[in-house]
C-alpha cells in the first residue's frame, strides 16, 4: 500500500530536497510550498525546559515522523512549531518569517495541528465538527461560501466519513472519531499538517488505516505532514524522514533507513534491539529485546 522501498534518497541532513515521495512532481507546480523551520528553539513550561536549543527544518512535501521516549519533548515541539507555545528563546520560522510575529489566523491558514486528545463539544455532529476547520478562512460573521462547503465535503470524502455526516460524534468508534478529527484538520486546507500521535488509542487495523490516509494525502495533494508517532516500525514504514528525540534534543534526523540503527534505539530508548529488514516493505524494522530478555 505504501510507497515501495526507495533506494535513491538524498542526503538526510539537507532537508530542502523532496524527491521520491513525488508529491511535488504531481502537484507541486501549482502549490506554493510552505517551509517550516525551528532555529535554536527552546521551549519551557513554567521555567522547566522541555525542548532545548533544537534545530529542525521540515522537508516540504514529505512525511516526517518524530519519535522518542515519553516526555522527550515531542508534543511540546509540535506545540512550539504551531505557535501554541511561545519559545523561551530561538524561533520558529514559517516561510522564513518568525511565527510569533504572524497573526494566529494567518498561521492557521497555512499550518494545521491536530492535538493528541482533542475535546469534542457536547452533542456535535460529524459535519459540524469538520466545518469548524473552516474557521480561519471565514470572517467575523462566519459567512459560509461555496468553497467552505467544498472543503468540508472533500475532507469528509477523503477520510471516508461522508456517510456519517449527520451522526453525533459521541456515537462513533475510536477509529471513526479519529478520521473525523483528521477531516476537520483537512477542511482547514493547510499545506502543512502537524499531528500529535494520530494513532493513539487505536487498534492496529485503525492505526494502519489512519497512516495510509495520511500518506495518501501527502501523495495526492502534496501536504507536508509532521507527526509524533510512538510505534517506531510504523514510523519507518510511513515516513520519508525520521526525527529521533531525547531529552528535548534531536539525536538523529534523516531517512528512516539511515536513522534507525541498533545504536540509535539504544541511545534514544535505552533498550537493546535487533534492527532487521521488514519482510513486507523491505524497510528497516526494529525488534526490541528489552533489558532483561535476551534474544535467542
Amino acid at each position: 500500500m505504501d510507497d515501495t522501498p526507495q533506494t535513491d534518497r538524498k542526503d538526510p541532513v539537507d532537508t530542502t530536497a523532496s524527491e521520491p515521495t513525488g508529491a511535488g512532481a504531481r502537484q507541486g507546480a501549482a502549490v506554493a510550498r510552505h517551509t517550516l523551520e525551528a532555529r535554536d528553539l527552546t521551549l519551557a513550561y513554567d521555567g522547566r525546559v522541555v525542548v532545548d536549543g533544537l534545530g529542525i527544518a521540515v522537508e516540504p512535501g514529505a512525511v516526517t515522523s518524530i519519535v522518542g521516549p515519553n516526555a522527550c519533548g515531542k508534543s511540546t515541539l509540535l506545540r512550539g512549531l504551531s505557535r501554541l507555545l511561545a519559545p523561551q528563546s530561538g524561533a520558529v520560522l514559517l516561510d522564513g518569517q518568525d511565527v510569533a510575529t504572524l497573526g494566529t489566523r494567518r498561521v492557521a491558514t497555512v499550518l494545521g495541528l491536530l492535538p493528541q486528545t482533542p475535546t469534542a463539544p457536547d452533542g456535535i455532529t460529524v459535519a459540524d465538527l469538520v466545518g469548524r476547520g473552516r474557521y480561519p478562512h471565514q470572517g467575523w460573521l462566519r459567512r459560509w461560501t461555496t468553497e467552505d462547503d467544498e472543503a468540508v465535503a472533500e475532507a469528509m470524502e477523503a477520510t471516508s466519513v461522508a456517510e456519517l455526516a449527520t451522526r453525533p460524534l459521541a456515537e462513533l468508534s475510536g477509529g471513526q472519531r479519529q478520521r473525523v478529527w483528521i477531516a476537520m484538520a483537512l477542511a482547514q486546507r493547510t499545506d502543512l499538517l502537524l499531528l500529535d500521535e494520530p494513532t493513539t488509542f487505536l487498534d492496529v487495523a485503525h492505526q494502519i488505516e489512519v497512516l495510509e490516509l495520511l500518506s495518501d494525502l501527502n501523495r495526492d495533494r502534496g501536504t507536508t505532514i509532521v507527526m509524533v508517532l510512538h510505534d517506531l516500525n510504523l514510523a519507518v514504514r510511513y515516513s520519508d524522514r525520521l526525527v529521533a528525540m531525547r531529552d528535548g534534543r534531536v539525536v538523529a534526523a534523516g531517512e528512516p533507513d539511515a536513522v534507525v540503527t541498533a545504536e540509535l534505539v539504544e541511545e534514544v530508548f535505552g533498550i537493546g534491539a535487533l534492527v532487521t529488514t521488514d519482510p513486507v516493505t523491505g524497510d528497516r524494522m526494529v525488534v526490541p529485546h528489552g533489558r532483561s530478555r535476551r534474544a535467542r
Partner: protein, 340 residues
C-alpha cells in the same frame, strides 16, 4: 458537497425555527402575564392600553405596575441565561454556571453591602455590584489558572469563593437592623416584586450593551469548546477570547443580580435546555436568552398568582424547579464521567 450544504442549511433552519417558536411562546407568556394581574384587565383592555388607547386606570396598571415587572423578568432571564451559557461554554462544564461558581454569590455580597451598609440604589448600586462581581471573578480566574484554565479547578475555586461570599452576606445581615435585613432577604431570594421603571432603565441600559456583545462572541465560543490547542490551531485567539467571554458573562450576571437579586438556577439550566433544543453542538446563545426570558416570565407568574393572595419571590419557584435539575445533572455528570 450538496449534502454538506443541505446538512448545514438544515441545522441553521432548525436554530431559526427554535428561536421563532421560543419568541412566539415568550410573547404569549408576556400577554398572559399582563392579563393575569389583580386589576382584572381583559386582553382587549391590555391591547388597547399598549397601543395608547387606555384610560388613566389601565395606563397606571399596565405601564406602572405590570410592564416594568414583566420587562425586568424578560431582561433578567435573558441576561442570566446568556451568562450561564457563556460560562458553561468557556469552562466546558455544564456545572459552571454563575450560580455555582461564585459569580452570583459575589454579586449578592456586593449587593447586600451596597444596600445595607452603604444605602445605595439604582445606577450606583448596579455599578457597585458590577465592580464587586468583576473583582471576585478576577480572583476566581487567577486562582483557577494554572497554565491554562481547567474546568474542574474553576468550578471548585468558584464554590470556595461562593462560600466566602455567603459568609459576607450572613455577616452583613446580622449586623443590620431588622427592617434592612428583611428587605435584603427578599432581594437575596431573587425577587421581581420591587421592580420599578427606574431599575428597569438601568438594567435595559446594561443589557443593550452586553447582550449584543455576548451574541457577537458566538463564533469564538464555538471554537473555544474544541479545547485550547485545537482552537488556537484553528486561528482563535484563545486567551483574549476567553477573557472577553468571561468578562461579558460576569457583567451579565451582575446587572441581572443588581436588578432582581440572585435568582437561582436560571443561569444553570437555560443554556443546556437551549443547546438540546437547537442540537448544533455549539452554544445556542439566542435560544438560551429566549429560554431564560420565557422561564422567568412563567416562573414569576407562578410566584405571583399560583397561590392566591400570596406574592412569593420568583427565586422560590426557580429554586423548586431548578434544584432537582441540579441533582440530576450531578448524578449524570458523575456517571458519564463527563464535565471535565
Amino acid at each position: 458537497m450538496s449534502r454538506v450544504r443541505a446538512t448545514r442549511v438544515a441545522r441553521r433552519a432548525r436554530s431559526v425555527r427554535v428561536a421563532v417558536v421560543l419568541a412566539v411562546l415568550l410573547v404569549l407568556a408576556c400577554a398572559t402575564s399582563l392579563c393575569l394581574g389583580d386589576a382584572g384587565l381583559s386582553p382587549a383592555d391590555v391591547a388597547r392600553t399598549l397601543v395608547g388607547q387606555g384610560d388613566a386606570l389601565t395606563d397606571f396598571v399596565v405601564f406602572d405596575l405590570s410592564l416594568p415587572r414583566l420587562l425586568t423578568a424578560v431582561l433578567v432571564g435573558a441576561c442570566l441565561a446568556l451568562s450561564g451559557a457563556i460560562f458553561q461554554s468557556v469552562v466546558r462544564n455544564p456545572l459552571a454556571s454563575p450560580d455555582i461558581v461564585g459569580i452570583t454569590a459575589s454579586a449578592s455580597a456586593a449587593g447586600v453591602i451596597g444596600i445595607v451598609l452603604l444605602g445605595l440604589s439604582g445606577l450606583v448600586l448596579s455599578g457597585f455590584v458590577l465592580a464587586g462581581t468583576v473583582c471576585a471573578a478576577v480572583v476566581i480566574y487567577l486562582l483557577a489558572w494554572r497554565s491554562g484554565l481547567s474546568g474542574y479547578r474553576f468550578v471548585l475555586v468558584g464554590i470556595g469563593v461562593a462560600a466566602i461570599a455567603s459568609a459576607v452576606v450572613s455577616y452583613v445581615l446580622t449586623r443590620s437592623s431588622l427592617t434592612d435585613s428583611r428587605d435584603a432577604l427578599v432581594w437575596l431570594t431573587g425577587s421581581l416584586n420591587g421592580a420599578t421603571s427606574e431599575k428597569l432603565a438601568v438594567l435595559a441600559l446594561g443589557a443593550a450593551v452586553l447582550v449584543p456583545l455576548a451574541l457577537a462572541q458566538a463564533g469564538a465560543l464555538e471554537q473555544l469548546e474544541l479545547g485550547d490547542d485545537t482552537a488556537a490551531a484553528l486561528g482563535t485567539r484563545v486567551e483574549r477570547g476567553r477573557a472577553l467571554a468571561v468578562l461579558t458573562g460576569v457583567a451579565l450576571a451582575a446587572i441581572a443580580v443588581a436588578a432582581a437579586g440572585p435568582i437561582v438556577f436560571v443561569a444553570l439550566c437555560c443554556g443546556q435546555i437551549a443547546r438540546r433544543l437547537v442540537r448544533s453542538g455549539a452554544p445556542a446563545l439566542v435560544a438560551s436568552a429566549l429560554v431564560g426570558a420565557l422561564l422567568l416570565v412563567v416562573a414569576d407568574d407562578l410566584a405571583q398568582y399560583a397561590v392566591p393572595g400570596t406574592d412569593y419571590p420568583v427565586g422560590v419557584v426557580t429554586g423548586i424547579v431548578g434544584a432537582p435539575y441540579l441533582l440530576w445533572l450531578l448524578t449524570r455528570t458523575n456517571r458519564a464521567g463527563q464535565g471535565g
